[in-house]
Amino acid sequence: MNQDKKINEVYIKENSYLKITGNFVLKGASGDIIKKGNEVYICCCGSSQNMPFCDGSHKGTGVKK
């Protein structure tokens, strides 16, 4: 069943980023389309200088949980 179907995935690197892969549309706060598929890294440590994308800032922020 649906074996040829690409599976969408959200991979969580704790305190660092979300890696989203698959067939997606990325929209900004105002509803504008920023990007379409197939892979994106979203910052989830709060420290990126290139929001909403991960820029590697999580290293050294010591954000935990």
Binding site: V10, I12, F24, G46, P52
Partner: protein
């Protein structure tokens, strides 16, 4: 018995229902209509600050059942069009299940939508698997709201902390 914090707010036309436990802090309501939905104010909902049509529009955008509405005039509730049923208090559960079914792989609606909420979480909607860095699959979802500020107490999910810490991004 555990006390729920469910609330009901009304104006002359409609009632809006608020079930805090169902809120995933997608922040749609207060970004769209801060005059009506203001989390810093008590009570946080002010039904007099916008026309009924606008309130309905914003409640319909709530991605969960945390916010729902219905006409005070019961006769009008039976005339609601399909597209508005999502957030009708009396109709939502059945319709919600239909929506999930429609979204199953193979039905042509398997595009995931990823929305960055202003100064808030990232909301993912669609069919997806959620994998942790240990390779564990913790949830297969149709909907989730993930923390972007790094301060949530229920990681990886948003718990609304971004508002208290003044997260910008």
């Amino acid at each position: 018995m555990e006390r729920d914090n469910n609330r009901k707010y009304s104006n002359k036309d409609i009632e809006v229902f608020w079930e805090p436990k169902k809120c995933i802090h997608a922040s749609t309501c207060y970004i769209e209509l801060i005059g009506v939905f203001n989390p810093s104010r008590r009570p946080w909902v002010n039904m007099e600050d916008a026309p009924t049509e606008k309130i309905i529009e914003v409640v319909n955008k709530c991605p969960t059942e945390a916010l729902m509405w219905r006409w005070l005039d019961e006769g009008k509730n039976s005339l609601i069009t399909e597209q508005d049923k999502n957030h009708i208090k009396i109709r939502r559960p059945a319709k919600y299940n239909e929506l999930i079914k429609d979204n199953e792989p193979g039905k042509g609606t398997d595009v995931m939508e990823v929305r960055i909420m202003k100064d808030g979480p990232v909301v993912v909607e669609g069919n997806f698997r959620l994998i942790t860095s240990e390779g564990k699959e913790i949830k297969t979802g149709e909907f989730a709201s993930f923390c972007r500020c790094g301060q949530s107490n229920s990681m990886p999910f948003c718990d609304g902390m971004h508002r208290k810490t003044g997260f910008i991004g």
